[in-house]
Symmetry: C2
């Protein structure tokens, strides 16, 4: 087996550095990569063909070890900006008062729960706290299975929902070496660029029904349909507002629940709503929350309709050592305060429109961009070899990601073929930042043809 | 069904507040409990028959909302003491510099990895980082299954290893309503108080072999034997130093791996060693780390022999959004520095001996204590109705936990019958703290007879 073949069989990772190419690195980076492999083992991946080291960060900027400034249009975890002073002060303050868990009475967790629940529809009455989005989705599915008595889980074909055994088992984007669960079924994403249908909702509902029928054929029912409602790992498909209702009807008719995974699209990023599912006019049974919830502090959770939580809550206890602890709650509360008080949802809407318009202008001036999609500050730019054939241009997408890194702008790529540029800046991105981004992007396009 | 019967069928929880008894609470506490149920749903549990609210904490003390001081002999997460200034300063400092993930190059994660690996035997070469002990055990078992190609997992009969679907599936202490995994098998704990054997290691090895044989009988092999080497949820059995070797031999002969769950006993708590498994003179294949690792900051991980990580690392990528982030690494490094620089392992040994001796003196003066067990600052006091019959005295153990809370000393209980007092103070506990604890414990014993 050649090195290239071996390499291609490694676990799938978009924009991952391949150690087989370490010879191309400078001495310092190569030494770092070797030290890292020795200490952390083979499962970790670095970004970029030429990995980058950052030393500090502030707002929408990161700085490498030589002090060079990078415009960050990728890191959605620190979503209100790197090192936000309001959030950091809240964490530091609470750390010095007390860091303790949920088995003592605390007003802080209840105050934040109330504030968070106010952002959901009244049908969603409870929240529970975990540390990571993986834990949130794992808990959501444990609950869905316990509530329905069924095992079946339906996801889109390139979904990503977590790294626990259960959630990795319904994350086909982990690649063919990562085992899917026995009762996991896939449906194609609502790909507005490639699927030719007059009614995407009915089309997707029919695909979901096929998989429900297959589950029943094997003597198994449906526990849940789980979707990131922007379908970000499938390629980012935000145009299907109000598309999900017929899908959820099919799911409910089969006795399953709908889990809206808001780890990517939640907390105001879509610009028009606080939660991605709200663009579809549906109310999920369980909502899972993650990445941006504490602006980098590990905090996540689920919001639930009480009827879905009842049996699980009666039969089982849930305790998460750090989940919902006093400091995590301070971090999450401060982050939500920033989103609400600084008007970041409106900012996403406004700056997102500027970005989207700018990207579409660029697409009209250059070949190779098949589609530009986005809502708020979540955008996808699909690279194709030819607009007629729509053959994915994965090499050019990857080259663009790396060229942008050279130009000190951070983005990545997504979709099965990794040919969709993933642009996901901080919620605080300004029009000036957008201009700098668009200029840099057009330069990169010209350089990588 | 009566209220009492309904109540008994709820998810199992040692020292859990039962909402059926809310009528006994004062107005303020009852209002809190009701608000909490409404917002957080039915799966959460509070401690104590009369739940307690804490407002601040410092060192080994917690303070309730009226300013009363409680001696904390329970909370092992903030293991170097509540609000430790060195740890909090390190977290605050790094938060203001940069909070980012493992896909950019960072020296911090490698420096800490090196520092941590130096505490293990040379066979253990890699570390990987998660946010919680549940995630660590979930990853450990995903890796064990991928490495061995087998599904079988053997644990002790009252083990607790996590709250994800996979780890809850091998945590029988969650109670009979919580489903165990199809391929999970249980062995009795090495109960030095009740099991009559000349060689506990051979005895346990034989039990493990029986379960391996049962797995083979069903066409399935062994992936892993997982043990908290103090068997803390089974009742705390620390005396079996050097007992595990024949058990691990049986596990290895069957092609399985040994996962040492150090979430409870690791990071110097046993007094004699940094890691619990080291008391047994064995080297695990995977070590999982959790709770005390960041003194309250959510950080956890696994340490691995490279041969066990190889196939998983080749076939799959592992990414944990917050796991190993720059702030988590600063927290973990500062915590380990405190343990090493303040000589806390030696302190555990010294103060633990004082505590154990004091508890044994008290046991000799009072009836109802069947056994006193411990190493370092992890102690169990087993309450029985009669030393001859050894019938567990669960009601008295629970009454003692609640009496201690009234006297403002925090402990809990463990074991299948919840009749073993769990005493687990901060690693910084002083002899003065020990004296106060012992006096309070004897007072409580006299009061609850």
């Amino acid at each position: 087996m050649t090195t290239a073949q071996k390499s291609s069989k490694r676990g799938k990772m978009v924009n991952g550095f391949d150690p087989a190419n370490a010879d191309n690195l400078d001495t310092r980076t190569r030494a770092f990569v070797e030290r890292r492999s020795r200490l952390l083992g083979p499962a970790y991946r670095l970004f970029y063909s030429n990995p980058v080291e950052f030393s500090r960060a502030n707002g929408v900027f990161m700085y490498d070890s030589e002090g060079n400034e990078y415009l960050d249009a990728y890191n959605n975890v620190v979503s209100v900006g790197h090192c936000h002073p309001h959030v950091n002060a809240a964490i530091a303050r609470q750390m010095d008062v007390m860091c303790t868990h949920t088995r003592y009475m605390q007003d802080g967790i209840l105050d934040f729960a109330e504030m968070l629940l106010a952002t959901f529809e009244p049908e969603i009455e409870h929240v529970m706290f975990t540390c990571t989005g993986s834990e949130a989705n794992d808990l959501a599915l444990r609950m869905a299975k316990h509530h329905t008595g069924n095992q079946g889980i339906i996801v889109t074909s390139e979904a990503y929902h977590g790294n626990s055994e259960l959630t990795a088992g319904f994350s086909p984007s982990m690649g063919e070496n990562s085992p899917l669960g026995t009762w996991v079924r896939r449906v194609p994403a609502p790909d507005t660029y490639r699927v030719d249908t007059a009614d995407m909702g009915e089309w997707l509902a029919a695909r979901v029904q096929e998989q429900i029928d297959d589950l029943h054929r094997r003597g198994q029912g449906l526990a849940a349909f789980v979707a990131d409602t922007l379908f970000t790992s499938d390629g980012i498909f935000p145009q299907n507002a109000n598309m999900l209702k017929p899908v959820i009807d099919v799911v409910h008719n089969a006795g399953g629940v709908f889990v809206a995974d808001e780890v990517q699209c939640g907390f105001a990023r879509t610009g028009t709503h606080m939660w991605g599912y709200q663009r579809h006019g549906v109310v999920p049974d369980i909502v899972s929350l993650g990445k941006p919830m504490g602006n980098g502090y590990p905090v996540a959770g689920i919001a639930i309709r009480p009827e879905v939580a009842a049996r699980f809550g009666h039969d089982m206890r849930y305790f998460n050592t750090f989940g919902g602890n006093t400091v995590a709650m301070a971090a999450a509360k401060a982050t939500l305060e920033v989103i609400q008080n600084e008007g970041l949802q409106a900012n996403c809407n406004r700056v997102g429109s500027v970005m989207l318009e700018g990207l579409r202008d660029i697409a009209a001036r250059h070949s190779g961009i098949g589609d530009v999609r986005g809502t708020g500050l979540y955008m996808g730019v699909e690279m194709v070899k030819d607009p007629e054939t729509k053959v994915p241009d994965s090499p050019r997408a990857l080259a663009l990601v790396n060229k942008m890194r050279e130009q000190r702008i951070l983005i990545s790529a997504t979709a099965f073929n990794a040919n969709v540029l993933k642009i996901r800046p901080h919620l605080t991105f300004s029009e000036d930042n957008a201009t700098r981004f668009l200029t840099g992007f057009e330069d990169a396009l010209k350089a990588v043809s």
